[in-house]
C-alpha cells in the first residue's frame, strides 16, 4: 500500500521534473507583497474592529464608484454595528421604490432590509464617468482574483503616479531593454499589479482622506489593510461559522475514525497477516 503511494508520488515527481525547465516564468513586474491575514489558517477569524474600519474606508471612498450588491445593510450588524447605527447608515442612501398607489415611482431613504445601494444607475453611465471602464462590484472581489486579498491590497498600493499616463521607471527600463517604444495610454493610471498595468481607476488611498470613528486618520497601509479585511468579510461572511463547524466536524470524525480503526482490527483479528 505505502509503496503504491510512494510510486504515485514518484510518477508525479517525474512528470513535473520533465517540465520543470519549461516552467521558468515569463513574469514581469514586481511580485505581490504577501500579508498575513488574520482569517487564514484553521483557527483564523476576523477582527471586527478592522472590519468596521474597513467599512469606513469603503463608505468614505470606494462607494462613489463600486457597488457591493450582495450585501444588505442589516449584514453590518454581524460586525458589531447596533440596529440604530445600521438604520442611520442606511438612511444616508436613496433607493428607488414604487410604483405607489398613484402609479408613480419614488425615492426613499434606504433601510436595513435594503441591499447596499449602487453608485450608478447602470453600467453605461458608470463607464462614461470612469473613462470607459465599469468599476466592478466588490462583494466577491477577494474570491474573484487569484490570491485575492493580497492582490487587492497590493493593487491599492501599486500606483506609479497620481497622474494618468505616467508609467513606472522599471517598466520604462524594460521597454528600453526590449528595444520597444514605451507607449502608455494617456488617460490610464500605471499600476504594478493590474494585468496589463493600465488601469482606469485613479489611486484612491491618500493620507488624510478617511477619518475613523475615533477621530484618527489612518495611514495608507492601514486603510488598505482594513478595506481588504472588510472586502474579504463581504465575500466570505460565513467564514467564521464555517471554520468553527469545520473544527468540530474534524474532531468528531477523528474520534469516530479512530474507533472504527480499532473495531476493524478487532473484527479482523483472526483473518490472515
Amino acid at each position: 500500500m505505502m509503496t503504491i503511494v510512494k510510486r504515485t508520488l514518484v510518477a508525479a515527481g517525474l512528470a513535473t521534473a520533465l517540465v520543470g525547465p519549461a516552467l521558468a516564468s515569463e513574469g514581469t513586474g514586481p511580485a505581490l507583497h504577501k500579508q498575513s491575514w488574520g482569517w487564514t489558517g484553521i483557527f483564523g477569524g476576523y477582527n471586527h474592529k478592522d472590519l468596521r474600519h474597513g467599512f469606513e474606508v469603503y463608505r468614505q471612498v470606494c462607494v462613489t464608484c463600486h457597488p457591493l450588491k450582495h450585501l444588505y445593510y442589516r449584514d453590518l450588524m454581524k460586525i458589531g454595528y447596533s440596529e440604530d447605527e445600521v438604520k442611520e447608515i442606511a438612511g444616508n442612501y436613496e433607493v428607488q421604490d414604487g410604483p405607489n398607489d398613484d402609479g408613480e415611482m419614488f425615492t426613499r431613504p434606504a433601510t436595513p432590509a435594503d441591499r447596499f445601494v449602487a453608485p450608478f444607475a447602470n453600467d453605461k453611465i458608470a463607464a462614461m464617468v470612469n473613462g470607459g471602464a465599469v468599476p466592478p462590484d466588490l462583494s466577491l472581489m477577494t474570491k474573484a482574483r487569484k490570491q485575492g486579498p493580497d492582490y487587492v491590497y497590493n493593487l491599492l498600493h501599486g500606483f506609479a503616479s497620481d497622474a494618468p499616463g505616467e508609467p513606472a521607471a522599471w517598466w520604462l527600463k524594460e521597454r528600453e531593454h526590449a528595444g520597444e517604444e514605451p507607449v502608455f495610454p494617456e488617460t490610464k493610471y500605471f499600476n504594478d499589479y493590474f494585468p496589463g498595468y493600465a488601469i482606469s481607476m485613479p489611486p484612491q488611498l491618500h493620507e488624510g482622506i478617511v477619518t475613523y470613528p475615533d477621530g484618527k486618520s489612518p495611514s495608507v497601509d492601514q486603510m488598505a489593510h482594513d478595506v481588504v479585511s472588510f472586502l474579504n468579510w463581504a465575500a466570505e461572511p460565513e467564514l467564521e461559522s464555517r471554520k468553527t463547524m469545520g473544527l468540530l466536524t474534524l474532531l468528531y470524525l477523528g474520534i469516530l475514525t479512530t474507533f472504527l480503526y480499532g473495531l476493524k482490527k478487532y473484527i479482523w483479528r483472526d483473518i490472515h497477516h
Binding site: L14, L260, Y261
Partner: protein, 407 residues
C-alpha cells in the same frame, strides 16, 4: 461459494413483505453473506466510497436545486444567495462543489486500481464496460454542473466545449445551434443543462446498479489476480468488509471535510466568481482539474475534428482494453514488465493533466503530442506486445496459501 439458502425471517411483517418482494433477502444475500476474497486491500474500498459520494452529490444537489434559479439573469445571484442567505447554504454548495472533485479522485483511483490488478480481464469485461459508461456520464454531469453557477468559466467553458460539436462534418453548425437552442450559449442552453444535470446522476445510479450486478455475478478480483478456489479463500462481506469500508469512509470524510471547511475554493477557478460576460473573454480558459488530461489530448491534434476524435478515443479505447491486453495474468504483482509500464502510464496521465492546464503554446504543444502518442501507444502497442514478451512470475497456488507473504 456454495449455493445460497435464504434464512427464515423471524419478524412477521418482514416475512410477509419478503415473500411478496424479496428485498430483505436480496440485501442479506448481496451485502451480508456475500462472499468476498479474503485478501482485498484498501484499494478495494474506493468503489464503495465513490458510491457514497454519489449519494452525497445527489442529496446536496437536490437541496441546491430548491434554491437555484436556472436563468442567465439570476443564476449567479441565486448561487450567491444560497451562500449567504439560505441556512447552511454555503455548506450545501461547498459540499457539492468539492464533492465533484472528490468523486473524480475516487473514481480515477478506482479505475487505476482496475488497471494495476487486471480487473478488466475475463470474466469481468462487462463490469468494466459499465464502469467506463459511468465515467462518461460523470464527465457529462460535471461539465453541465459547472455551467450552472454562470460565472465566467461556466460560460466560456460551455462555449469552448459545445463549439467542439461544430467539428462534425456537414451538419456540425446546425448541430451546435440545436444543442444551444439559439445562436450562442444562452438562456435555453442553461435551462437544458440544468435539466440534464438533474437527470444524468439518476442514470449514473442505474449504471452503478448494473455495475454491482455484474460484480456480484462474477465476484471481486483481488490483489493476487487469481481465481478463488474454495470456501477458504472467501470471507463474508459483513462484518469484514462493512467495517473496513466504514473505516475508509471515516478517512475519506476527514479529507473531504478539510476541503469543505478550510479550503473550499482550492479546486476552483477565481474567475468563476465573476458573473458570466459574453463580451469579455478570460485570458486563460481552463477546465476543472479532472478534465485536464482529456483537454490536453483534445489540443494534441491541430485539426478540430481530429482533436475531438482523439479525446473521445481516449475514453472509448477503455472499452476494448480487455482484448488489447494479451497477457493471461491479471495482477501486476506477477508481471515484472507491466508493473513498470503501468507506472509510466500513470506518469503520462499526470503529465497530460499538467499540460492541459498550460497555455496552448510551445513548448507545451509538442510535449502534449508526445504524451498523447504515448497514451495511445500504451494501449495499442505496449499492452498487446507485453503479452508476448513478458515472462510472468509464478502464480501462487491459491489465495489462502500465500497469506503469510502478503504485502
Amino acid at each position: 461459494m456454495s449455493t445460497y439458502t435464504p434464512p427464515t425471517w423471524n419478524n412477521k411483517f418482514v416475512r410477509w413483505f419478503d415473500e411478496r418482494l424479496p428485498i430483505v433477502t436480496l440485501m442479506h444475500k448481496e451485502l451480508v453473506v456475500y462472499p468476498a476474497p479474503r485478501n482485498l486491500n484498501y484499494w478495494w474500498s474506493f468503489g464503495s466510497l465513490a458510491g457514497i459520494v454519489l449519494v452525497i452529490m445527489i442529496a446536496t444537489g437536490v437541496f441546491l436545486a430548491m434554491y437555484y434559479v436556472p436563468h442567465v439573469d439570476h443564476a449567479f445571484d441565486s448561487v450567491e444567495r444560497i451562500m449567504r442567505d439560505v441556512n447552511y447554504g454555503w455548506l450545501l454548495r461547498y459540499a457539492h462543489m468539492n464533492g465533484a472533485s472528490v468523486f473524480f479522485m475516487l473514481t480515477y483511483i478506482h479505475l487505476f486500481r482496475g488497471l494495476y490488478f487486471g480487473s478488466y480481464k475475463a470474466p469481468r469485461e462487462v463490469l468494466w464496460w459499465m464502469g467506463v459508461i459511468i465515467l462518461f456520464l460523470m464527465i457529462m454531469t460535471a461539465f453541465m454542473g459547472y455551467v450552472l453557477p454562470w460565472g465566467q468559466m461556466s460560460f466560456w467553458g460551455a462555449t469552448v466545449i459545445t463549439n467542439l460539436v461544430s467539428a462534425v462534418p456537414l451538419v456540425g453548425g446546425d448541430l451546435v445551434r440545436w444543442l444551444w437552442g439559439g445562436f450562442t450559449v444562452d438562456n435555453p442552453t442553461l435551462n437544458r443543462f440544468f435539466s440534464l444535470h438533474y437527470l444524468l446522476p439518476m442514470l449514473i445510479v442505474a449504471m452503478v446498479m448494473l455495475h454491482l450486478w455484474a460484480l456480484h455475478t462474477k465476484k471481486s478480483n483481488n490483489p493476487l489476480g487469481i481465481d478463488c478456489k474454495g470456501p477458504n479463500d472467501y470471507i463474508p462481506f459483513h462484518p469484514y468488509y462493512t467495517v473496513k469500508d466504514l473505516f475508509s469512509l471515516g478517512v475519506l470524510l476527514l479529507f473531504y471535510a478539510y476541503f469543505i471547511f478550510f479550503a473550499p475554493n482550492f479546486f476552483g477557478e477565481a474567475d468563476n466568481y465573476i458573473p458570466a460576460n459574453p463580451m469579455v473573454t478570460p485570458p486563460h480558459i481552463v477546465p476543472e482539474w479532472y478534465f485536464l488530461p482529456f483537454y490536453a489530448i483534445l489540443r494534441a491534434v491541430p485539426d478540430k475534428l481530429g482533436g475531438v476524435l482523439a479525446m473521445l478515443s481516449a475514453i472509448l479505447i477503455l472499452f476494448v482494453l480487455p482484448w488489447l491486453d494479451t497477457s493471461k495474468v491479471r495482477s501486476a504483482t506477477f508481471r515484472p514488465m507491466y508493473k513498470w509500464f503501468f507506472w509510466a502510464f500513470v506518469a503520462d496521465c499526470l503529465f497530460l493533466g499538467y499540460l492541459g492546464a498550460m497555455p496552448a503554446a510551445e513548448p507545451y504543444i509538442t510535449m502534449i503530442q508526445f504524451a498523447t502518442v504515448y497514451y495511445f501507444a500504451h494501449f495499442l502497442v505496449i499492452l498487446p506486445a507485453l503479452g508476448w514478451f513478458e515472462k510472468p512470475d509464478p502464480l501462487p497456488e491459491s489465495i489462502s496459501a500465500p497469506v503469510t507473504s502478503q504485502a
